[in-house]
């Protein structure tokens, strides 16, 4: 990347927080692996990230030393487990600047978090006394976008099927940005919720949400941001973003699988009917009917993924220790480097923004007519792990007229040498299929 002189008095390049990438890599045991006789080059962190020793240790330590069920035991282990679980909730709340830990609902993943909101709408629509903001019927509208992951499409399609509401969506421009030109016609008094991806898992686009938020407030709708790809990679402040709900998942941010988060404004969570019924989510149960616990417990029926939540707390500590601003900048530099490097590969076409502005370190591309499966297979033989396919965002593939793409995605441990290995691997693909 070329640097230009920045006038004095302005923020300088050296002001940007940085960290030692080699030291970070040493924290991730899996990065020592060889794949097919080559050093592992892991460029699939948008799919799932690797886990540092600090997280793996906490996971093992929890089971080895503090294992017990939460929120129901008076014994010492039960108290330790509950404190660890609730402590993780507080850490995650602080990580996204949530006003209160009670606004953090633990879920299985982002998909479950979105489904909880969708089913809360559905359940509220069956109850005449429910909060009108969650009641949905014919004539009401739900707005998403064409660049959503399937997890932010299908739950809303199903909700609209159940309630008779109409699903509408923002289109995507040729350069892979959200097309906001129809905002006023799309988000109207009929809109009950806008559920939008913050960073696209296929295009890498980071959506600017301010205009949409303003419109959502004007019409009195709710706003959910799918932050699965953004919370792991940039500083998130739910107050600053002024969203009503955000969702994200632990395994993409150095945490374990099986743990995700639904964050919601306290008063909205309190207005939402429960979705899953069972233990822990109740206030009192009688055979004739039950009353429900306040959030977040209301949405956490049954024994939760305790160790996973605790380990996600450790992941958040780990990321905060390095600094989300520093991680964001590292990935911005990598993205600029990768966009330049990929531009040198003959026949390569990038889907999504081709400048490192308003985008994250996830780059999808086509290499001539070579099918992504074949690209991925040749790269794998060289140790380079990329994702190929439609990335659970089939409408984006349709939008750009391809059945699938090859996707390279970066994280805090990714190096420019790994991007060089990708580019060299693509030369090999061209040799095999040229």
């Amino acid at each position: 990347m070329t640097s230009i002189a920045i006038p004095s008095g302005m923020p300088q390049y050296d002001d940007v927080p940085r960290y030692d990438v080699a030291a970070v890599r040493a924290d991730f045991p899996i990065l020592d692996r060889e794949i097919n006789g080559h050093p592992l080059v892991y460029l699939d962190s948008a799919n799932t990230s690797h886990k540092p020793r600090q997280v793996l240790d906490v996971l093992a330590e929890h089971y080895a030393r503090h294992n017990a069920n939460v929120s129901r035991s008076v014994h010492t282990l039960g108290t330790e487990a509950t404190e660890a679980y609730e402590g993780a909730r507080a850490k995650i709340a602080a990580f996204i600047n949530a006003p209160s830990p009670d606004e953090v609902v633990f879920t299985k993943n982002s998909t479950e978090a979105i489904n909880i909101v969708a089913y809360a709408f559905s359940n509220a629509s069956l109850r005449p006394d429910a909060d009108p903001r969650f009641r949905l019927g014919p004539g009401d509208e739900v707005v998403i976008s064409e660049m959503e992951h399937h997890s932010n499409i299908v739950p809303w399609q199903l909700l609209c099927e159940r309630t008779g509401a109409t699903l509408r969506w923002f289109p995507v421009t040729d350069s892979g940005r959200l097309d906001e030109s129809g905002l006023e016609d799309l988000v109207t008094e009929r809109t009950k919720i806008v559920s939008l991806v913050h960073m696209s898992n296929i295009l890498g686009t980071v959506n600017a949400t301010a205009r949409i938020t303003e419109r959502v407030r004007q019409v009195g709708a709710l706003l959910l941001l799918d932050c699965s790809q953004s919370v792991p990679h940039l500083p998130m402040d739910v107050v600053d973003y002024d969203a009503d709900f955000i969702v994200f998942t632990g395994h993409k941010m150095c945490g374990p699988t099986g743990i995700g988060v639904l964050w919601g404004r306290a008063e909205l969570l309190a207005a939402m009917p429960p979705v899953f019924g069972g233990g822990s989510m109740i206030e009192t149960v009688q055979m004739a009917g039950s009353t429900y616990a306040p959030p977040p417990a209301r949405f956490e029926a049954g024994t939760p993924p305790i160790a996973e939540a605790v380990a996600l707390g450790a992941a958040v500590d780990y990321l905060s220790g390095i600094g989300m601003k520093a991680i964001q900048w590292h990935e911005k530099e990598l993205t600029a480097y990768a966009l330049d490097a990929l531009a040198t590969v003959p026949g390569l076409r990038i889907f999504g923004p081709t400048v490192p502005v308003g985008r994250g370190g996830t780059i999808s591309f086509a290499l001539g007519d070579v099918h992504p499966h074949d690209v991925g297979q040749v790269l794998d033989s060289l140790g380079v792990q990329v994702r190929v396919g439609h990335h659970c965002a089939r409408p984006v593939c349709t939008r750009f007229g391809v059945p699938a793409t090859t996707r390279a995605s970066f994280y805090l441990y990714t190096t420019t040498e790994e991007i060089d290995a990708l580019v060299a691997g693509l030369e090999q693909v061209r040799k095999v299929f040229g």
């Binding site: 499966h373 040749v378 699938a404």
Partner: protein, 157 residues
């Protein structure tokens, strides 16, 4: 992992120069024709296979689709192996191919039965790619059933 065991020359050749590609109408207007469209939901590969039959012989197997080298080469081999064959014979070949692909690399293919299909023996060692190779064969099976030449008794059981 040896890339050459997956991308055999025969497979790349069928991929770059597919045989019998393109959906065709039957020459004989009395022929039964039917087709089936199959997709691989994990990668978005698609293939449509059309079977024309006079009731006993598969007079033509035509196909169209988009996908990776393995799925497209597999469709080309399918066309070459089964077009013009009797339905009974065709299903013997079908069964042998499915067995080869399900064998995790442990099945030794019979070249007399499978012809160029033996080149796919290496694919069976790549679990992520077995579906690619089978995609046209599964579509063929459905299309044949719809054309009234159904599955062979062994497969039905």
């Amino acid at each position: 992992m040896q890339l050459e065991s997956l991308y055999q020359e025969i497979i790349l050749d069928h991929y770059k120069h597919p045989h019998g590609r393109g959906l065709r109408d039957a020459d004989d207007p009395a022929a039964h024709t039917a087709e089936a469209h199959h997709v691989n939901p994990t990668c978005g590969d698609e293939v449509t296979v059309r079977v024309a039959t006079d009731g006993s012989v598969l007079t033509d197997i035509s196909y169209d689709g988009m996908g990776c080298s393995i799925s497209q080469a597999s469709a080309s081999v399918l066309h070459e192996l089964l077009s013009g064959r009797g339905a009974g014979e065709a299903f013997v070949v079908h069964e042998a191919f499915v067995e080869l692909m399900s064998g995790r690399g442990q099945v030794t293919p019979d070249e007399d039965v499978l012809g160029d299909g033996v080149a796919f023996a290496g694919v069976a060692r790549y679990p992520a790619r077995v579906k690619c190779a089978l995609l046209p064969w599964m579509a063929f099976k459905d299309a044949a059933a719809r054309a009234g030449v159904g599955v062979s008794p062994e497969v039905k059981a």
